[in-house]
């Protein structure tokens, strides 16, 4: 097996710089939106005392999940010795780091007191899964950075596999932690279930690979044809199909489990049938746009391994993924707490017993989108200065 050689992204061209400029602009606008929200308080967002986590959290969780999944390509090559993916291992690690930074940036900038980040870094309540997640995020960055280092340094290649195993194990634990942020919430009917962890892990594989395909398609615009060979495309296609089906499986189990439990009928009926927002996002967003249509494209013999079709499928998967996270994060909060079972008319100034209202405001959407742009900007920038991309491989 010939050694893979790596190089910085060359031949960047107008498209690359246009995309980078666009991301930079979005980041600047997002920072302005953040200042506006921090200055005026969260009153200028759509969030309130019932929908306490809003659009920024949807984007942040989406990115954090995708980050651990983006490492998948590297893991497959190092842990499972699949050499076809080896050449993308560096890119995979970089993308994982960039997506995590993007997600965490959104999470931190949405805090009520982002200036107290140092408090979050120095005071820990070890019973809090949120505190554990902070360790998991930091650990992930350190381990993936180390994993990249041993891949890129001379004489450390023998450490690639053990580091890859550590990184793979850590990413599984990290996504378990992210899912458990919801799984450990005993107060709310839609959460409070261990399946949130494997659901998030399955979702991460899907989002991570979709992001990887988009980066290869757009950021590496001029050499994408050489990078995304027919063999690579077929493997990515197969993986995408598997991941979509696995996410659908866990989603189905989650909902069926709730549907079986009488106590949870209310929230399921609300999310799956009654809500014009969440039911539409679930069926139209996650299921049709994010799962069924990509499956139809990817399983189509003439389209399945076509780069443009796969790029389109990846975009659909990610839009559907955003819808999925929106339904989980916002929909799960919108359904009222069951404080007074047996009483069917409940009223209060807090809106007890009523579905909570949420209309995301422009600044919080901009902050969320900034996370994606930050991740893509970091990826694009690093690709131009460090050798992360494999030498284009011939398709023949």
């Amino acid at each position: 097996m010939a050694r893979t050689t790596y190089k910085v992204l060359k031949g960047r061209g107008f498209t690359f710089w246009s995309i980078m400029t666009l991301h930079a602009l979005v980041i600047l606008i997002g920072l302005g939106a953040t200042y506006y929200m921090e200055h005026n308080g969260h009153i200028v967002t759509g969030m309130n005392n019932r929908i306490v986590w809003g659009m920024p959290h949807v984007f942040a969780i989406f990115l954090i999940i995708a980050a651990s999944g983006a490492l998948n390509v590297a893991s497959i090559s190092s842990v499972f010795n699949k050499l076809a993916y080896k050449s993308f291992a560096r890119l995979s690690g970089l993308l994982a780091l960039a997506l995590l930074v993007g997600g965490l940036a959104v999470l931190v900038l949405d805090l009520g007191r982002p200036d107290r980040l140092i408090v979050a870094m120095t005071k820990y309540n070890f019973k809090s899964i949120f505190a554990w997640n902070i360790y998991l995020y930091i650990g992930f960055m350190v381990i993936v950075a180390g994993y990249l280092f041993v891949q890129m340094s001379r004489g450390t290649e023998h450490l690639t596999k053990p580091m890859g195993i550590v990184a793979f194990a850590w990413r599984l634990i990290l996504t378990t932690g992210t899912g458990s942020i919801f799984g450990f919430l005993v107060a709310r009917d839609f959460y409070d279930t261990a399946i949130m962890a494997p659901l998030f892990i399955a979702t991460s594989f899907l989002f991570g690979l979709a992001f990887t395909i988009l980066v290869l398609s757009f950021t590496c615009f001029t050499i994408r044809n050489q990078l995304m060979t027919r063999e690579v495309m077929q493997k990515f296609r197969d993986l995408l199909i598997i991941f979509i089906v696995v996410v659908l499986y866990f989603t189905a189990v989650h909902h069926l489990n709730n549907i079986y439990i009488t106590q949870h009928h209310g929230v399921e009926k609300f999310l799956l049938l009654d809500s014009p927002v969440y039911s539409t996002l679930f069926w139209g967003g996650q299921i049709i746009l994010g799962s069924i249509l990509p499956l139809l494209i990817l399983t189509n013999k003439s389209l399945g391994s076509n780069r443009s079709a796969m790029t389109l499928a990846s975009i659909m998967i990610l839009i559907g993924g955003l819808a999925q996270i929106y339904v989980i994060v916002i929909g799960g909060q919108a359904y009222p707490l069951e404080i007074f079972p047996g009483w069917d008319e409940i009223s209060s100034s807090y809106g007890d017993g009523q579905i909570a209202n949420y209309m995301p405001s422009l600044p919080e959407i901009l902050l969320g989108v900034t996370g994606i742009s930050l991740a893509m900007f970091i990826t694009g920038f690093v690709l131009t200065i460090l050798p992360f991309l494999p030498e284009p491989i011939s398709d023949e």
Partner: protein
């Protein structure tokens, strides 16, 4: 259950109830209020008693309501031997009465800005109705000061904490405003400060971008006084709120809980709340 109704169907305000056993707990309360005593006379008696209790014999009042009998010196830590709690008799809450809410707002400086979705609400009045039976109830809902508070469990920085005497509080200096405690609270009892604040009370510091909730008027407790909601309800409304030390078997609240059935909201979560309810 019939003993419970007999013993505590005391919408009339009589200690120990008046012996009624007819109808539901909630409805029996309504009946008594209408038949036991003329409204004006009852109101006068209540007001006069309250006035006397507040102005003439505060020490006796505190003792009688099971409240803190003496102030805690500033250099003395809160005692784990004490567990402060509250017992709310919903049968004594009038429909539409929000005096406990107003008292809390005035005492702690949070305001109704006409934006209920984002305004702080340390305590709120909840109205319940059962369509099948027609039963109704009104009650105040606030932080339940759980023995096993989910908000404390999930807080990443430890800003949400439980004091040794059972009062669940937020450390305003270490709250980063992540709102995970609000996700975790089974009662929706916490508020996030969404906008800049003015005219804060010295004894109840607040901060934009942080989370807050009922403190049980910890500043008053430490001074040997009753929480504002309890004091006001006793003085101006039906006396539905009783405050005291749940660990002291001789406290009025412990005796009442031992004598008449009471419930915890969302008891299935086994949080052992410090706030308990009767007659709902």
């Amino acid at each position: 259950m019939s003993d419970f109704i007999k013993g505590s169907g005391d919408g009339c305000g009589k200690e120990g109830g008046c012996g009624c056993s007819s109808g539901s707990a909630v409805n029996s309360h309504t009946d008594h209020r209408e038949t036991d005593m003329p409204q004006t006379r009852r109101g006068f008696m209540k007001a006069a008693t309250a006035l006397a209790m507040i102005t003439i014999a505060p020490g006796i009042t505190l003792f009688a309501t099971g409240g803190p009998a003496k102030a805690r010196p500033l250099d003395e830590a809160a005692s784990p031997k004490i567990r402060w709690g509250m017992l709310i008799d919903a049968s004594k809450c009038d429909d539409g009465c929000t005096k406990c809410v107003s008292a809390c707002s005035k005492e702690n400086g949070w305001k109704d800005n006409g934006r209920p979705d984002t305004d702080a609400q340390w305590i709120r009045a909840v109205t319940l109705k059962n369509r099948k039976t027609g039963a109704t109830a009104t009650l105040p809902l606030m932080c339940q000061h759980c023995e096993e508070p989910p908000c404390v469990d999930v807080c990443p920085t430890g800003a949400s904490f439980k004091r040794a005497d059972g009062i669940v509080l937020v450390n305003k200096h270490t709250c980063i405003g992540c709102r995970y405690c609000m996700m975790a609270c089974p009662y929706g009892a916490r508020s996030f400060i969404h906008e800049p604040l003015e005219d804060q009370k010295d004894h109840a510091p607040r901060g934009k971008g942080t989370v807050e909730s009922c403190t049980l008027c910890v500043h008053r407790i430490d001074e040997g006084r009753l929480p504002a909601c309890v004091e006001t309800c006793n003085a101006e409304a039906g006396g539905a709120l009783m405050f005291g030390d749940l660990n002291d078997p001789n406290s009025e609240i412990s005796k009442r809980i031992a004598t008449y059935a009471s419930i915890e909201l969302r008891s299935g979560l086994q949080l052992n709340t410090g706030v308990r309810y009767q007659n709902i």
